[in-house]
Symmetry: C2
Subunit: 223 residues, 2 copies
């Protein structure tokens, strides 16, 4: 039984990797950069995107693709704050986005008028790690309300990521969270990780996040 499961899974993953390569090629052709935003449920992905769209939606020509198990709540929240396109993918209970879903979502996005696509993955620190979507970079949101040892407990997610955004820093006075230890654990799993510390509530650190987004599209946009 186990062996059969693994065989099928490997075939499914191989097909996903093919589709992700197709997404990557299609994005490159149009000079569009995609970021894959991943985290636990409730780490602040949607709030961060609300603030981001309000400030950089137009200047960076951002489109957002949100993945949700059953609702399009996040997409509705985001659409209320922006004229930019927000494309909802309802996974029907599945625990991650896959490259086919992103590929389908791209059909609804005018890539000629888009420079940055931010994909808000399903809130889950396990499964999305295994699914390449064709993104340029993977960004994990890591809230200070979680335990510092998340990188050790969900290593695959951190191994495959490029950036870690420490969120909800306004709550640091109220929670037993040691930022230095959390960063050390992240680097123990993946020494190449880079960090941004933000509070979307107070605005602290948001400029560093905005700079990261501008930087992400710079090589392609030639700015």
């Amino acid at each position: 039984m186990t062996v059969r499961t693994i065989e099928v899974r490997e075939r499914v993953m191989a097909r996903n990797d093919e589709l992700a390569a197709g997404v990557r090629a299609r994005l490159a052709e149009h000079g569009v950069v995609a970021l894959n935003l991943m985290s636990s449920p409730g780490s602040g992905k949607t709030t961060l995107l609300e603030r981001t769209l309000a400030v950089l939606g137009e200047p960076l020509d951002i489109a957002v693709v949100t993945g949700d198990c059953q609702t399009q709540n996040d997409a509705d929240r985001l659409a209320a704050h922006t004229a930019r396109l927000v494309q909802a993918v309802v996974t029907g209970g599945a625990c991650h986005l896959d490259a086919l879903q992103l590929s389908d979502a791209l059909d609804h996005i005018d890539l000629g008028k888009t420079r940055l696509i931010i994909v808000e993955n399903v809130g889950n620190l396990v499964c999305p790690a295994s699914w390449d979507l064709g993104e340029k970079s993977r960004v994990i949101l890591f809230a200070v309300t979680e335990g510092e040892d998340k990188p050790l407990k969900y290593p695959k997610m951190f191994e495959k990521a490029d950036w870690v955004v420490i969120t909800k820093t306004d709550l640091l006075p109220h929670v037993p969270f040691d930022v230095e230890r959390a960063v050390r654990y992240c680097l123990q799993i993946n020494p190449r990780l880079q960090f941004i510390h933000i509070s979307a509530m107070t605005g602290h650190g948001m400029n560093a996040w905005f700079d990261f987004l501008r930087q992400s599209i710079r090589p392609l946009a030639g700015v």
Copy 2:
């Protein structure tokens, strides 16, 4: 491809349900109650269990089974606070516990000297919902640092649960979390849900949690 995946998945799930029925029968035979504790990563499962073992570990003959993707950090944290058995299940990256893993864990627990087994599932609001472990009740931890709409976004988890423990209530003054709305969303998904509000940090509400645990074993223990 999709059809094949579903077929295999259904076969795997059917086998899991058989194994869960076996676990349930084995626990009933020994008069042991199992609770399946589920939540997002970082909702406070391990901290709650630390406090629980300290107070009720001996009086209720509690054993704990912790599921973790890669580490046994949680098991180590818990073992530091109790002489009761803490059995670690490292899932090797899998995103949930299954009935076979719990069945194997039971082989290491003296069921004759145990009345309550608390299973700390992998931190994940999606996948564990589909896997019956043979538990009596399912308990979701829902931290006030998460969004109120978690029940709408992860409905399967809440549909199949019996109790919701609202955690980290000490942070309510610092987060934009509307408890009434969160409860309303929970009941919208599952009107049978019951609620406990706690802060493991301040101790607020812990007596209600302890009463719930005592009550859980009462019918079997004849107390």
